[in-house]
């Protein structure tokens, strides 16, 4: 019970750090996230004997790390179509380092290619999710004035790097550890809350509710199917529809 309170407290800290980043100052937000990161790494090491919670605190440290990296990388030197790949490479490196420390492989994290029809069915949920998200957020299109190959690069960056890396972090690593530490229901809800918290930057309550629901859906699918390929593709397709397809179609 005590460990569940600590986990809940860290979710609240991550929410607070995101609020500071989005509403006050990104610098203070980076400082707040850095403190959360350091305390999680220390706490995980101190709890080394109690494996499930130690692993959870360690994997939870990826949440503040994601925000620190996304704020620290000098993106203004890169063309906008390359931003997603540039940010996701260091996060993928951190995820692989995390898996090595925890002694798990990609297979354990749910990167398993099987049952292609099931995977395709889950992946296709990305189309309605993308349109719903577009109607909530109405983001500016990312692909204005890009050449064909730059469009392909942007679609690959959005579709593969954000979809795969984010699902590897949240469902493949973090949810795996949370479920092991606190059971399916609490683990699933806790990680969906962390996932939603990292969308506070959109400044939309409706989007937070939507993202939390999608996080629960992806988490449930990962638990039941035992792999993250379908939800990774769905996540990637959601982002491509949100930033490229829906603004181009412009239904309303």
């Amino acid at each position: 019970m005590g460990e569940l309170r600590v986990f809940t407290a860290y979710i609240i800290f991550i929410v607070a750090a995101e609020v500071v980043t989005s509403f006050l100052d990104p610098g203070y937000g980076l400082l707040f996230h850095s403190l959360i990161l350091i305390s999680l790494l220390v706490l995980s090491s101190l709890k080394h004997g109690e494996n499930p919670v130690s692993r959870l605190y360690l994997s939870l440290s990826l949440a503040p790390l994601i925000r620190i990296i996304s704020l620290a990388i000098p993106l203004n030197h890169f063309p906008s179509y390359a931003w997603y790949i540039v940010v996701n490479v260091p996060i993928l490196v951190a995820s692989v380092a995390m898996m090595r420390v925890q002694g798990i492989g990609f297979k354990d994290a749910g990167v398993v290619f099987r049952k292609p029809l099931e995977v395709a069915a889950i992946a296709l949920t990305g189309i309605p999710f993308g349109f719903i998200d577009y109607f909530i957020l109405r983001p500016e299109p990312l692909d204005i004035g890009l050449s064909f190959w730059n469009l392909v690069f942007l679609a690959l960056g959005l579709g593969l790097s954000t979809g795969f890396v984010e699902e590897l972090v949240f469902r493949g690593i973090m949810q795996r550890d949370a479920v092991e530490a606190f059971g399916e229901r609490r683990g699933l809800i806790g990680v969906a809350l962390v996932f939603a918290a990292l969308h506070i930057g959109w400044l939309s309550i409706l989007d937070l509710v939507f993202v939390f629901s999608v996080g629960l859906f992806y988490g449930f699918m990962t638990l039941k199917k035992g792999n993250i390929i379908g939800v990774s593709l769905s996540h990637g397709i959601t982002n491509v529809v949100l930033f490229m397809v829906a603004p181009a179609v412009n239904l309303i």
């Binding site: 980043t21 100052d25 990104p26 610098g27 980076l30 400082l31 850095s34 990161l37 350091i38 790494l41 220390v42 995980s44 090491s45 101190l46 080394h48 360690l58 440290s61 990826l62 790390l65 994601i66 925000r67 620190i68 990296i69 996304s70 704020l71 620290a72 990388i73 000098p74 993106l75 203004n76 030197h77 906008s80 931003w83 997603y84 540039v86 940010v87 996701n88 490479v89 260091p90 996060i91 490196v93 951190a94 380092a97 995390m98 420390v101 983001p139 500016e140 990312l142 959005l158 954000t162 890396v165 984010e166 949240f170 996932f195 990292l198 969308h199 930057g201 959109w202 982002n239 930033f243």
Partner: protein, 76 residues
């Protein structure tokens, strides 16, 4: 604003790029110094901490290398 979980780009973050880069460099130095210290110890929890610090160090090193590379290119 353009944002996914992993990519948050706002006018504020782009204009504060140098300051955020400097802050992340301070964090990198702190993590590297901590790693040096805990690696010298033989206690198991500290050895574990030394390994877990790599999780923060590696992505920050990539970010730092990118920042330094662009600064050098600017000077050239």
């Amino acid at each position: 604003m353009i944002s996914t979980v992993t990519t948050t780009i706002t006018v504020a973050t782009l204009s504060a790029g140098a300051m955020l880069g400097a802050m992340s460099t301070v964090l990198l130095i702190f993590l590297l110094a901590s790693k040096e210290m805990v690696d010298a110890d033989t206690r198991q929890s500290l050895r574990m901490l030394g390994r877990t610090l790599n999780i923060g160090i590696l992505p920050l090193l990539i970010s730092f290398a990118l920042t330094v590379s662009f600064k050098i290119l600017e000077v050239l």
